[in-house]
């Protein structure tokens, strides 16, 4: 192994460890001033780094050339997180929630990011998945894993039924219909006794796989992990599978087709001239997206044993959608990062709860006006060996900015 490779590996490990250490520090430090200080320092370091061309270039290159190693390291870190956090079961729970949000965000990314279908009713589909799982679990006693699947499938079916009449409608109308849908659904949930009414469904059994109940603690190598870690690992598995599926879709001609019918970045007319049946592909994107969202919802209800109408509101939908907008439309890494931030920041800033939503709105507006690309902008796919797209060719909804 050449020393050059060794240096690159070292660089990758360095970066990963430092960034994860910062992340965990932010999670665990309870003194808010310290947290802000850490975030500030991290921000300055990142900013300074982004200005240092040579350093940035060598890091980027190191990650690209040792990408296999980097991916494996990331997976190792993900697997080790519960060990590091084992004295704070609450944060493991929050991280699990973050993974669920990643799954939802990936689903919306397929709908809005790739195919341009604006789904402001995402919370309703999340709710369909959650309520389906809850209903089946409490009324019929079906095993939780099956409920996950049922929730996802039901969400897909409801989504298709809603979408069929809307294949021809355009952006604002679609937006309005999805908003109306989530509000009507919320109203329905609040009043329908058979769905639990305003109280929702309580006492949903916790997840258990083939008899192994998730209330047990995990004992490995003499270390004890709290029971929340069970959820974390299952969510990680699901998230990993769905994320990989998303990535494969994006990289394939399916992703390309969706981009072509995207109102903002694609050109539907040209796509149709090329033989793309826009309606069918929109439907496919919408459906697959809802599968993701419904699955996350079903998992959520088995994790918190409780699902109720206040979880399913238009505002929740907006939060989900904004993970995609803030992270970078059609960018899988961006969307994942934004989803995690959107879960962790409000938790960390509980003390400022009153002001959090306001800041969120302001950040959303600022991002849309000033940096529509998002946190990690989507990259143009590279189809030719060795040629990487430059930063100028990054995609932006609404044209270059």
């Amino acid at each position: 192994m050449s020393s050059h490779t060794l240096k690159e590996l070292l660089l990758v490990v360095c970066c990963l460890v430092i960034s994860w250490a910062l992340f965990i520090a932010v999670l665990l430090i309870t003194n808010l001033f310290l947290v802000f200080a850490v975030i500030l320092v991290a921000g300055l370091v990142i900013y300074g780094f982004s200005r240092w061309e040579r350093g940035k270039a060598s890091i980027v290159q190191a990650f690209q050339r040792q990408s296999r190693f980097a991916q494996v390291s990331m997976i190792v870190i993900f697997l080790c997180l519960p060990f590091i956090l084992r004295s704070s079961p609450y944060w493991i729970l929050i991280l699990t929630l973050a993974i669920l949000w990643i799954i939802v965000a990936l689903g919306i990314n397929i709908q809005f990011g790739s195919a341009g279908i604006i789904n402001l009713g995402a919370a309703a589909f999340y709710g369909v998945g959650a309520y389906t799982a809850g209903m089946f679990a409490t009324r019929l006693g079906t095993p939780p894993l099956l409920n996950l699947l049922l929730g996802a499938v039901m969400s897909t079916i409801v989504g298709s039924l809603l979408f069929i009449p809307l294949l021809k409608t355009k952006s604002h109308y679609l937006a309005l219909v999805t908003i109306a849908f989530v509000m009507a659904f919320h109203n329905l949930l609040n009043n329908a006794e058979w769905l639990g009414g305003a109280q929702g469904i309580v006492g949903i059994p916790l997840m258990s796989v083939a008899g192994y109940s998730f209330t047990q603690e995990i004992k490995i190598w003499g270390l004890k992990l709290p029971s929340q870690a069970n959820f974390y690992y299952l969510a990680l598995l699901l998230g990993g599978l769905l994320g990989a599926a998303s990535w494969r879709l994006w990289n394939s001609w399916v992703g390309l087709t969706w981009n072509s019918i995207n109102e903002g970045t694609g050109d539907e007319l040209s796509a149709k001239c090329m033989g793309v049946t826009a309606g069918r592909w929109s439907m496919i994107a919408f459906t697959i997206g809802n599968f993701y969202i419904g699955l996350a919802g079903a998992f959520y209800s088995h994790m918190t044993t409780f699902i109720s109408p206040p979880d399913i509101t238009f505002y929740q939908s907006l939060l989900f959608l904004s993970a995609v907008i803030l992270g970078g439309v059609d960018s899988i890494p961006g969307v994942c990062l934004a989803a995690v931030l959107l879960v962790i920041l409000p938790e960390k800033l509980r003390a400022f709860q009153q002001y959090w939503v306001m800041f969120f709105g302001i950040i959303l507006v600022l991002m849309l006006i000033l940096r529509r690309k998002g946190l990690i902008p989507a990259r143009i796919r590279s189809y030719m060996r060795g040629i990487r797209p430059t930063s100028e060719s990054l995609k932006t909804p609404g044209g270059p900015r």
Binding site: P165, F181, P397
Partner: protein, 306 residues
């Protein structure tokens, strides 16, 4: 029979309030091809400004006469809300006026949320309902079992006058014609010397005035306002505008009344229906969108769809 009539009167009053907000939405869409999702929050701001003005006048200046109080309140709040809308337009809409409509929709959504929670955070006891003083006389009378209240009639008549005024403004004044020109073809209008920025400003001012009055009406009737009152009004206003046909003032009025009457009737006549009244109204909206995407009055001009 009197239940039906009472529901109709109530529905008409609600319809007027919804229409006032819906006209704002339709103006934004017609003139600027913009879905202004923060319009509900402008409505809320109008109500809160009205409350602040009323309290100030009453506590600090000791003015007691309801007529004067209300007059100053309406004019003051309308002016301030119009100004607020103007600033809002300048800050958030001008930078993105050439971006695809989706961006504007999302931006206004985000802005709306910011405004809503700004009020919640910074208005004293913001998260709780605020008492709105009742300066309308409590006078009411029953005519053949139908209850007629002064405040309902006041709102009904006031709202209709405002809408009439808007209609005259759009159709008879020079600025109104300029707005209609921009609605038809922005580029050509600007070539003809119409100041697009001025038109944007005027749209915000007019819809701001309407929304503020609707907000004060709402406060006077229910005696309570709360920071998230704009949320549902925003969606209702937009739905009403869409049902009637985006871009047409008459459509917005029709949509507003239809929405209100549909909701009222559902709650009155379907047993247990009160809970589902918005569900039916929204279902109707979806139905209209599917069957008549341009709205009942077929108002949207073709160019809007692309």
């Amino acid at each position: 029979m009197d239940t039906i009539l009472n529901q109709i009167i109530h529905g008409l009053m609600l319809g007027v309030m919804y229409s006032l907000v819906a006209v704002g939405f339709t103006l934004f869409f017609g003139v600027l091809n913009l879905v202004q999702f923060a319009h509900g929050e402008i409505f809320m701001v109008g109500a809160f400004l009205g409350l602040i003005i009323l309290n100030l006048l009453h506590s600090f200046l000791g003015i007691d006469s309801p007529a004067i109080l209300l007059l100053i309140c309406f004019i003051g709040s309308s002016a301030l809300t119009a100004l607020f809308g103007l600033l809002f337009g300048r800050i958030t809409i001008r930078p993105i006026k050439d971006a695809p409509p989706v961006i504007a929709l999302l931006t206004t959504l985000g802005a709306g949320i910011s405004i809503r929670f700004f009020v919640m955070a910074f208005y004293p006891a913001g998260s709780q309902p605020q008492n709105f003083p009742g300066y309308l006389p409590d006078w009411q009378t029953e005519v053949h079992g139908v209850l007629l209240r002064f405040d309902s009639l006041f709102i009904l008549v006031g709202g209709i006058l405002l809408i009439l005024g808007t209609y005259l403004f759009i159709n008879k004044t020079k600025m109104g014609i300029a707005m209609r020109a921009v609605a038809q073809d922005r580029e050509t209008a600007s070539m003809m010397g119409v100041n697009i920025n001025r038109v944007i400003d005027t749209t915000f001012v007019v819809s701001g005035v309407l929304a503020a009055c609707a907000g004060i009406f709402n406060g006077l009737y229910y005696r309570q306002i709360i920071f998230d009152m704009g949320a549902i009004y925003g969606v209702i206003g937009f739905s009403a505008a869409v049902i009637g046909g985006l871009g047409s003032i008459l459509g917005a009025i029709v949509g507003g009344f239809l929405f209100a009457l549909l909701a009222s009737f559902t709650s009155a006549f379907i047993p247990g229906g009160s809970a589902y009244r918005f569900v039916t109204a929204f279902a109707f909206l979806i139905f209209v969108l599917v069957i008549m995407p341009k709205g009942i009055l077929q108002a949207s001009r073709g160019k809007r769809e692309t």
